[in-house]
Structure formats: C-alpha cells, structure tokens
Amino acid sequence: MSAPRTLGPDQAGWPAGLAHLERPPESLWILGAELPGVPAVAVVGSRRATFAGLDIARSIGCELAGAGVQVISGMARGIDAAAHRGALEAGGSTVAVLGCGIDICYPQQHLQLRDDISAHGCVVSEEPPGTPPWKQNFPKRNRLIAALACAVVVVEATPRSGALSTARWAADLGREVLAVPGSIRSPQSAGTNLLVRDGARPFLGMNDLFEAVGELGNLAGSGAVGAGAASSSVRWRSLAPPLQEILRRMGPDPVHPDAVGSALGLPAAVVAARLGTLELAGAVMSLPGGLVARNY
C-alpha cells in the first residue's frame, strides 16, 4: 500500500469536478493506488439499510465497475459499503471520501474494506491525518462526493439521511441525481421517494443512469439491474419445476417461510426442504431474523 500523499489544485491529477465548488478544498489527502478520475458515479444511502437495498447497492457498484466507471461513496456502513464492495467484486476502481483523516478508519469494522479500497482505488479526505470523525465534517464530505461524481444514485435514505444532503449538493452543482424508488411504507425509502417527488430521476435500472448522464451515454442499453427478474428466471431454469414455482412466488422482499407455505398450500416440511435446496443452489438466501429472500 502506498503512503498517504497530498494533492494540490495546481498539481496534475487534481479532479476537474472540484472547480465547480464555490469553496473547493485547499488540498486533498490521498491514500491508494489511483486518483479520483472521470467518469465517476456516486452511490450513496443510509447506514441502516434493508437487505434488498444492500443488494441493489452492491449490484449497481458491480455494474458500474464492469462498465469501467469509478464508484464513489463514503465508506459508511450500509449502502456505502455495499456499493464499494460491489465495485471491488467486479474488479473495478472505487473511491471512498472520508469525513475524517485518511489514517483513521471509521467505522472501525471497515479496516479490511479500507485496505481493499486503497489497493484498487483510493481513499480521499480533505481533512488532515489525525482528524477524528467529527459530525460537522460529514456535510463537507458530502459536497466532495457530489463534486467528484458526474451523477449521484441514492439507493435508500430516510428523510433525515446524509445521503439527501449529498443529493442536494449534487443538484446545486448540476450533477444528475437519481433515486431508487421504494414502497411508500418503507422508512428506508421515504427519502428517496421524496427525491423522486422533487424531480430526481427514478432509477429503475442501469439504463436510466446511462441515458441521463452525457458522459455515460455510450453505455446505454447494456445494463441490467432493475431487469433482474427477467434475467434470473433464465439463470434458474435448470431447477425443478416445484422449486421454480416457489421462486416465482417470492418477490425481492424477504418473506417468512410460513408465508410461502400458506401461499402455495404446502406443508411446512415440504417448504423447508425446498427452501433448503434453493438456498444450496444459491437462488435463495436466508436472512437474520429467519426470513428468506430471492437472490437476483
């Protein structure tokens, strides 16, 4: 791993996007192999996310990295970390913008993630090393995320989430803002639904992103996140018909095995056996709390 270094506005590699800021940072602290470059898309959201949300963030990170787009996020728990991990899984480059010094790992549990990010991308902060993760640093950090990206995708956010502040910054800077819509009853989607109501583009699949952003226009027509249902029915075609029937009845939302049983009129023993088989095949995952959900 390379040593931390500083980058000034007059040096080569200074991200052009930062020029759009009214008060750009005086310098950036950077840890890692690469620099923030173009094109880059920010994927942000709540720390406390649903499993579906985490999965969406991960697949967006994956798809972006696969298309050669850098994934920017804040290395927080939940959506941020899932987006970084998705990009890393696809072997892409990802940038974590921190609200503390780059030598400090916040949250602590992300030590491994931070090492991975700095090995395949970089960790960036405008705070000097040693700065603790003070609360007031995070809105400042959000403005950097917005400035470095050409578009911001908000996957899940409560109305008070910091991700909405990132979206506001992005809108002010003229970046495209996309929000993943969700159920009007899910608190984790309340913020993103608000964004959609206020004019953000709904994100239903990668195409929405590619079409909206000029720099990524050439990628339009290649992505497939929202269209997961269609692609996965192909993926699990080799499964026995009764197993496929269970898959068809399961949506992306986690359900209890009893609900599957009563929907299909099957006894608990049969449901358990089929879910066990599906899980082994990788088509279903069991979640903490005893629910099961489809894998897409």
Partner: protein, 480 residues
Amino acid sequence: MVEADLANGLPRCTIVGLTDRAIQEARERVRAAIENGGYKWPQRRVTINLAPAELPKEGTCFDLAIALAVLGAGDATLHLDGTAFLAELALDAVLRPVTGVLPMARCLRANGVRRLVVAEENAQEAALVEGLEVFSAPTLQACVAHLRGQRPLDRVERDGEPPAPAFEGEMAAVRGQAQAKRALEIAAAGGHNLLMTGPPGAGKTMLARAFGSLLPDLALADALEVAAIYSLRGALRERPPTTLRPPFRSPHHSVSRAGLVGGGSSTVQPGEISLAHRGVLFLDELCEFTRQHLEALRQPLEERIVTVARLRAAVSFPANFMLVGAANPCPCGHLGDERGCSCEPNRVTQYRGRLSGPIRDRIDLLVSVPRQRFDSLFAGSDEEASATVRRRVEAARERQIGRCGALNAATPGRQVMALARATSGARRLLARSGERLQLSARGFYRVLRVARTIADLAGEPQVGEEAMAEALHYRAESDA
C-alpha cells in the same frame, strides 16, 4: 445404622458419628418426643452412634431412628431388625416429612432393607420403590405399637393412577406457525436442542409449553429417576412422584448459577438442569442469561450429566435434558418483522455474539417465529392436536431405539454417518453445503442427525435429498 447404648453413670446423652448441627439438636427433639409420647427417657448415660462413623451425616431424617434406638435399648419387645426409619420428630411425638426419601429408599432397598417407616407425607414417594414394604405412621406411639406387634400399621399401597398432568401446553392452541411446529416435532422426535427467535408476543413461550406435550410418557424407571431428583430438592409437591410426564423447567434468567446447574454452600443440591432431566429445559430470553450461565450449560449438554465439585467431594447429578431456547432476533425484537428493526447494525451483531459463542454450537434446529396477523388468529383453520403429533414422535423414537438404542441427538459423530444411511444424492447435497454454507464439521454432523430424524418421522430407512434439504434449512449457523 443408628446404635444406642445405655450405661451406668451420670445421666447425659451424646450423639457421635460426624454429625451436623441438626443431628446434635435431635437430642432435644427426641427427648421431648419420647417424654410427650408417654415413654420414659432413660436416666442413664446414653450414647448414640451413627454408623459408619467416618461418613459425615446431616439432616433431621435420623430423629425417628434415634428415638427408637433409645427406646429399644431398654425394651427387648421392640423389634427393630430389618426395618429402616426416615422421619423427623416433632416435640409432641408427631412424625414429620423429610426431603430425599425416594433416593434414600432406593438406596436402602439396594442394600437389602425390606421394610421402611416414614411420615405420612412421604409415604407415596417411598412406595414407588419396588420390593420395599412401606409403612406410614402418624406418631412415635403408633410406630412403637407396630414394632411391638400390638397394633400393626397398614402397608402403604402405591396410588394406581398417575395424577393428571399439571398445566401442559397444547399444539392446537397455537394458531399458524407451521414451520415452528414442524421444527418442534422434529426436535421432540430426535431429542434435538432447538432455538426459536422471534419478536416479543409471537408465541414462543406457548410453543415451548406445547413442546412438552409432544414428548412421550417416561418409562417407569426413568420417572423414578426424575422423582428422586425432585425428592432431593424437596420439590415433589410441584411434581407428584407418580407422574410419568417428562418434566418441563423454565428458569428465569435471573436464576443463580448454582440454581441453574446445581450447587449450594453446605449440601450440594441439583439445579434446574437436573430437574429437567429426561424432559425439557426452556430458557426464555436466552440472550439475557449471562455468558457464565450459558458456558455452564456446555458440559451437561455434551455429557448429559453435571458434576459439581466441592471442597470434600464432587457430586454428579444426571442432566439429560433437551434445551429449548427462545430469543429476540435483535435487542428491539423486530428484526425481520413488518414493524421494522430500529437497532443499530453493530448492536445486532453484538447481541447475536452473546449467543453464538457459548451455546450456538449445541443448537440443532433454529427456527423463526413470526408475529401472527390478527386475522389469522381468528381464522378457523384446523390445527393438529398434540396427541396426534405425539403418536408420530413415539413411532419415530421407536425406530431410533430399535436401530441403535439411543435417540439421534445422542448418537456419537462417528456412528451418525453409518446410521444415517444417506442416499448418494443426499450425500452430494450435504457435501455441497460444506463449501456453500460454511458448515463446520460439528454442524455437518448436526445436520446429518436432524436429517436422520426427519427420515425417521417419515418412516424411511434411508435419508433422502428431501430430508437432507429440510435439515439444512433449519441449521443453526445460517446467520452466525
């Protein structure tokens, strides 16, 4: 054996034989009882010896024997030979009950004693021992009259019918919860340990109580063993000694360690886990039990016996119980619930960590119990009665006993592989799960045992893919 000697000299009374305070005090009780009973306390030097003299003795159960030994020393018409006496004496010569009569009676019978006299309250438990003539006497006088052959006491007959079981759950009373009920049936059939997670108010406690009703009656010998443990704790009032239903214990999480696994300062007493011997130990709010408590359960869960070491000796109590645990999935209890969980993710991890260390690897089945919708509580769907399920459980247990003499949960790892007789498809499934679901070696055998039980419930000689897949679904390591 209690011996008494009357010698010439200044009148006094000595009791020897490594006695405790209660026995020393017996001098006063016995003396008062003898005089109030209308007999004369000998005006001589009385020495009472409790033999063998080298073993420490304690308790008040020797009172009656001491009194009769003193009376018998001066009265040749009192036939004491071959009869044992276990009772405390009141000052007015009434016989009082003592604890631990059943195990003592069993031990006396094993040592060749044929007749036993106890207080009326202890008569039924003593009468459970085969081949022992039990008499119950109201007072010292009745006892003396019996021994002189003047007015023989009636022999105590065992109550024929075991009493109706006390409060026990009923499966049909629980609406819905198909998966949980299925898991309970499997656990009951194979003797597996089970953990239920679910939000508060989902019915975990009701299900656990109903679990007791799925277990078959105990064999008479096993029931006696259980009753003996209850007798030691003086707890036979809670559980009539003649009942054949397996015990069900649900200690609160504030129970002391000694209360849970056994112990105590002077006399070592069996704990809750021994009271649950051959039955169910239900630990509600499993995550609220301290780590030390849960750690202490590991050894008994493995060896089915608990050893309490004390300064002078180590005492072992049987503790062959099935563990049924209930826990909230997270601190707020609503993870996976439609109300939504409001816990910080790291707190959830922390909360689960409490469980995973000490006890997770002893859990065979993990099942989630969702909150029921109100409309489904009113729905008139027919729920299966406990008695119906119990018949399937009994049949499955018979197959297991016939195969290897033990329930599947108690078969050692080496044998499981051979006994399971898994089809090649099922074996492939299990092998795949090793890498796919990160199953440990211990987890591997646990899944195999559960799968064997599922096949036994279905009456199949071989473990097929269906049974294996179902067992994998209930495995406990899914979210560790």
